[in-house]
């Protein structure tokens, strides 16, 4: 189904990028988690958050979040916005690198004059992006778990493991849409624009829907509606519906990517 040499080439080429993203996530995860013991006992910190209007709280992760719990603190400072943005940047960069940049820089021309099916290339690109995102998802959350252990923070590790699955599916869904854009569009910048717009619009609609029920209906169609790190980490059970939703987006986008790449001209 996939071409292993191509998979190795894509991961090898993005090795340096993955390294720097990992360092960034490790440092940020360590810094944010390490700060928690110093703020957890500060009543003023809790009061500060409590005094915020709900609309403002919703902008940062929801008014029901308890900032004095480690899960709440990590959600607000890291999981709600920073981690998805960092992983989305990597996913979109990877998606653009695999197809639209290869087309722009001419390497795709030489690849596709060899006997490799385009659907196989698209699928291989999808899997290499998935592998890269899996590593970064584990690093991103793993840095929090490790730091929490070092500083003796009472963090529910099962909740963290559940969150790794959620964030992975979330950014893979966005990356798959990015891959589809990469197969269908002509410039890397257009792929980034699609991905960033989608992420921002999704966050905005989710924020609006948390404050005004009018937006609730359309919110169901966007990625952020199904992304609830605090709920996942603090409640029993698993958010299977979110995974199924992201899974459908991933499968649909991956299929459309192969179809789009098959149909289009490679070099103009």
């Amino acid at each position: 189904m996939i071409n292993r040499s191509l998979l190795r080439y894509q991961l090898k080429t993005k090795k340096r990028s993955m390294f720097f993203f990992s360092i960034a996530l490790l440092l940020w995860g360590f810094m944010i988690t390490a700060l928690y013991p110093t703020v957890s006992d500060l009543q003023g910190f809790s009061d500060y958050w409590t005094d915020f209007p709900d609309t403002f709280k919703n902008l940062f992760g929801g008014h029901e979040v308890n900032i004095l719990k480690p899960e709440g603190y990590i959600t607000l400072e890291y999981y709600q916005l920073f981690l998805p943005i960092i992983l989305a940047a990597f996913a979109l960069g990877f998606a653009a690198f695999c197809v639209v940049k290869a087309r722009e820089n001419g390497t795709m021309e030489i690849l596709f004059t060899h006997p490799i099916e385009r659907w196989r290339y698209a699928l291989t690109s999808f899997l290499s992006m998935s592998a890269g995102l899996a590593v970064l998802s584990v690093v991103g959350v793993g840095s929090v778990m490790l730091t929490a252990r070092i500083f003796g923070i009472d963090l529910d590790y099962l909740g963290q493991l559940k969150f790794i699955v959620l964030i992975y599916f979330f950014v893979l869904a966005l990356g798959s849409i990015g891959l589809l854009a990469s197969c269908g569009l002509n410039k890397a910048g257009q792929v980034y624009a699609v991905g960033i717009t989608l992420l921002a619009a999704s966050y905005l609609v989710n924020f609006l829907s948390n404050n005004w029920s009018f937006f609730g209906v359309i919110d169901h169609a966007f990625l952020y509606y199904y992304y609830d790190p605090y709920g996942l980490m603090t409640q029993a059970g698993f958010q299977w519906f979110s995974i199924i939703y992201y899974g459908v987006i991933i499968a649909f986008s991956a299929f459309l990517s192969t179809y789009t790449l098959q149909r289009r001209d490679i070099a103009i």
Binding site: S5, Y9, I110, F112, H114, R263
Partner: protein
């Protein structure tokens, strides 16, 4: 007649509303080297990309090695070696890694000639491609195109970055392939070299084929040059040739460009007292220019 390795029928490609190529119909036979000539933007690269399935034709079609262009592209690419016009490779890989990557995409044919070609073109494959000069990048594209011993070569300006020695080695390699019955479809701007190696040439202008000719016939029936010297100055009306364009070179020495048949020129020249006459065929370059500026043009 040997087997037809490339057949196109009204092959047409539009990029949106912009014409790439229109109504291309030609054939290339086994064991031939077919030169594809035309100025920048004429549609050469578009044609080559259509043949290897990088582009989908807007209309028309054809076969390469007996396989339909639209439906059997994978079978075509299995048997074809291709050199792109713009050399872009995998900058972060070494030459060896790039060749191994491309080799892995063709599992049914091993890269039997890789080692020999690397030696022949004196390429250091242990270095990263981003450190290569443009000439070395070109060598790498040549090696990847030839290393699987393909049945057909489709080459887009393959020597543009090579030095004269490497060009010589490249054409030597091409001739060896030809003697083994392999076919080549090559586009180039280096017309004197095409003159030396091609059996047939196609000339494309503004997306349409102007002519496809056996190179020997093309030279024979098209432009010739004659230089002749007269014994005395003739009356002016005697120098009004209808069969040729005359220009005075030096004193009584004239140069004639003969675009058509020789017979009318010989008859007109016979009216004069000639003491010396030299006739030569035009070079491919001159023929090419004639098609763009003279009667061959649209």
């Amino acid at each position: 007649m040997s087997e037809r390795v490339i057949v196109t029928e009204n092959l047409t490609k539009y990029y949106g509303k912009t014409l790439g190529v229109s109504g291309l119909s030609f054939e290339v036979h086994g064991g031939e080297i077919f030169g594809y000539l035309g100025p920048n933007g004429a549609g050469k690269t578009t044609t080559l990309r259509l043949l290897v399935g990088l582009l989908h034709p807007t209309s028309g079609g054809g076969t390469v090695l007996g396989f339909d262009l639209g439906r059997r592209s994978l079978d075509i690419r299995e048997r074809v070696g291709y050199i792109p016009g713009d050399v872009h490779l995998f900058d972060d890989l070494t030459g060896r890694q790039a060749l191994q990557l491309l080799d892995s995409l063709r599992p049914s044919r091993s890269a039997v000639l890789m080692r020999e070609l690397v030696d022949r073109f004196e390429l250091d494959v242990s270095r990263k491609i981003k450190e290569y000069s443009s000439g070395n990048k070109q060598k790498l594209t040549i090696i990847q195109a030839f290393m699987h011993d393909p049945d057909l070569l489709i080459l887009d300006e393959p020597t543009s970055a090579l030095d004269p020695l490497m060009r010589h080695r490249f054409y030597e390699l091409l001739r060896e392939f030809k003697t083994r019955g392999k076919s080549t479809f090559i586009s180039s701007h280096v017309l004197p070299e095409m003159d030396q190696i091609c059996d047939w040439v196609g000339i494309i202008r503004s997306g349409s084929l102007v002519t496809v000719e056996d190179i020997k016939n093309l030279s024979a029936k098209k432009l010739r040059h004659a230089t002749f010297t007269l014994t005395e100055e003739p009356p002016p009306h005697m120098l009004d040739f209808t069969s040729a364009r005359l220009t005075r070179q030096d004193g009584l020495e004239f140069k004639a460009e003969i675009p058509g048949e020789m017979d009318p020129f010989i008859k007109e020249l016979a009216r004069l007292h000639v003491i010396d006459l030299q006739i030569s065929h035009a070079s491919l370059e001159e023929i090419f220019l004639e098609f763009y500026t003279g009667e061959g043009g649209e």
